[in-house]
Amino acid sequence: MTESTLFTTAFALYAGALVGYSASLFARRERWAGGGLVLAVIGFCSHTAALILRTAASGHAPFTNMYESLSFLSWAIVLALIIFGRKPLGPRLGPYLMLIVVALVALASSPLMPKGAVPLVPALQSYWLWLHVSVTLLGEAFFAVAFVASFLFLAAASEEKKERLDALAYRAVAVGFPLFTLGGLIFGMVWAYRAWGRYWAWDPKEVWSLVTWLVFALYLHTRVVLGWKGKRSAIIAIVGFLAALFTYFGVNYLLAGLHSYA
């Protein structure tokens, strides 16, 4: 099987998972959510094989352009869903996370995204490409989980549900924050120092990842020290995810800078 067949298969399975999860949401059948998870896991395997094949064929890490990084980000979000899907109320995140995944995969598959594996420009030829991008996107996937849980928190009616969703969002931030700190900021600094001779250049992408980091740091401090919970925490987590999203997409298209390749 070729990489694009596997990727399309994953796309179809994710869409199936979305249907299963949505059906369980609207028809209130828990078993359909289980079916959604199974489809997501099979899709995840197919997607993993696609990423491996692409890496083998191109000889470099599969996140050097928008198509590749979208593909990897959606893979990471499915991974986060699989990890969080078994926690209390985890299946509730399914329909929304799969909606995000399907949207990202659809965007990656759109004709707007050049899919060819292009040879790497000199600045990207480094093992830090692996470390920096993969760990950052993994961290952002957990921020997506926190975002969905926080959103559901704001919409939820029952106190018990609210408490569980709040705890779920916090757990996702607790996993995502160290990963984002390590991958996005620290590995980014180390690589920038090797490639450009400066660890920090106040490039818009750097500044926006700092902004994302500050928002989640605010989330943790208000929560752990001031004891904020619930609505206020949920709003900060949502703002944090939007900042991460802007760092990922917006900076490339709206602001010019050193990170023009991805």
């Binding site: 924050f177 120092y193 001779g197 818009p204």
Partner: protein, 451 residues
């Protein structure tokens, strides 16, 4: 002094600073940084002056942004210090104020009776706790014993380690800002240049650009020799992502270019009347080369540009330093009289002849253009970098301690009652409550089972 301390130990101040630094940083991405006054005037008109005087155009280096960071640093230090003592006592100090009545307030708890003497009951529970790697502190209480069991105590200090790391990073940034030096060295092959503020020089032995088979640059490589006291001491290839570090300096492959001021040009001269006539000449800009012809005695090139474009005021200039559209202004002479002048283009050999300013029986083709290539290396000395890496290590170690090594604490009160021992246990975990609950339940399930 006290009010200073109280002001800076407030977490509310930290929240305000988080928000202010975030907003200021965003502002700096919306206003382009470090451009010329003219560019700001075009972009912002009358607002350009006020923006510059508020240092919005060099925001991240501005006094007020640095002041925010300084306040943030002070706040972090004082917050961390003021909470450190109580935390230390909680992690390592003796048992304080515990009784069996207070424990039920804790969510994770257990209460049962053991038909054993006090000492045996204590040994049994202490042994179980030790087998789960808990460290025990024992103290007497009214009618019994209190056991305080703690593990993963360093987890409590994760946030302190992160804060220390952040302070080290800010110090590193300050050191880089004050003591950092960088300069560009442009070197032609074979050329030697002194490194500013250093006691050695660099010689470029070779510069290569590697291409992929399908086009596109694969790598730029400069072979560099370090020369100290007139003698070569080290030789290495510097590539993008592979800098050379020597005596506190790092050298990065940052750019390259061609010395287009003195190109070696090759022209082919043809006669319009005689298709079989062809003559190749090579010359430099400004050089006059004799041509054996009735109408033209000499030919010369007045100007050369690598990337021809007509700019403002109909002036010819080069759009870039890349040879994308090489063009030469050719002149033909008869004695001291210029009979012909035209721009000719290497990539469009038929085009230039239409622009001729005089008639000539000859036509000219720009066949070759060569210039020495130079490599640009950035010489950087960054005394703050080591602080940054140390700070990063602390931040990561601290984050992982805080999030993945959560402190756990179990208090057990043992009281003698009617020949049995009443055991009351309560526990707390900084994070990972479910896992802790499971461990706690297993422990006390074992403890109450008759052996």
């Amino acid at each position: 002094m006290r009010s200073f301390w109280r002001f800076f130990s407030s977490v509310k101040l930290a929240i305000v600073l988080f928000v202010l630094i975030t907003l200021a940083s965003i502002l700096g991405t919306l206003i382009p940084q470090g451009q010329s006054a003219a560019e700001y005037a075009v972009r912002y008109g009358g607002l350009a002056g006020p923006l510059a005087s508020l240092q919005m155009t060099r925001l991240y280096q501005s006094g007020w942004y640095l002041a925010l960071l300084l306040l943030f640093a002070l706040n972090t230090i004082i917050c961390t210090l003021s909470r450190f003592g109580p935390k230390w006592r909680k992690a390592f100090g003796p048992v304080t104020g515990t009784d069996a009545q207070g424990l039920p307030a804790i969510t994770v708890k257990s209460r049962f009776r053991l038909p054993l003497p006090l000492a045996a009951a204590k040994e049994r529970i202490a042994g179980l706790l030790r087998s789960r790697r808990y460290r025990l502190t024992e103290s007497p209480a009214a009618g019994g014993i209190v056991l305080l069991a703690r593990k993963q105590r360093l987890g409590r200090f994760g946030s302190d380690v992160v804060h220390l790391g952040l302070i080290v990073i800010l110090c590193g940034g300050l050191t880089s800002g004050i003591g950092g030096r960088r300069s560009d060295l442009a070197l032609l092959e074979g050329q030697t240049a002194e490194v500013p503020r250093a006691a050695f020089s660099l010689r470029l032995d070779k510069f290569e650009t590697e291409h992929y088979p399908q086009g596109g640059v694969k790598d730029w490589k400069s072979t560099i020799t370090v020369i100290e006291n007139g003698a070569p001491v080290a030789s290495r290839v510097v590539e993008v992502n592979h800098p050379l570090t020597y005596r506190g300096f790092s050298f990065y492959q940052t750019s390259y270019g061609w010395d287009w001021a003195t190109p070696r040009l090759g022209l082919e001269i043809r006669k319009r009347a005689d298709a079989s006539f062809s003559k190749a000449v090579s010359l430099k800009v400004g050089e006059r080369v004799p041509v054996d012809d009735a109408d033209v005695s000499h030919v010369s090139v007045r100007e050369f540009v690598p990337d021809f474009v007509i700019g403002e005021g109909n002036k010819v200039r080069s759009r870039s330093q890349e040879p994308r559209n090489p063009a030469a202004l050719v002149e033909a002479w008869k004695g001291e009289e210029r009979v012909f002048a035209a721009w000719i283009f290497a990539k469009y050999p038929d085009f230039g002849q239409g622009h001729e300013r005089g008639r000539s029986a000859l036509s000219f083709i720009l066949k070759s253009y060569e210039a020495d290539q130079f490599s640009v290396l950035e010489a950087a000395r960054d005394p703050g970098a080591e602080f940054i890496w140390l700070g990063c290590l602390l931040v990561i170690a601290g984050s992982f301690l805080a999030f993945y090594w959560p402190a756990r604490e179990i208090q057990v009160v043992l009281e003698e009652a009617q020949g049995q021992v009443e055991v009351t246990a309560g526990g707390q975990a900084a994070k990972g409550r479910e896992a802790f609950q499971a461990e706690f339940d297993r422990l006390f399930e074992k403890a109450r089972r008759p052996s």
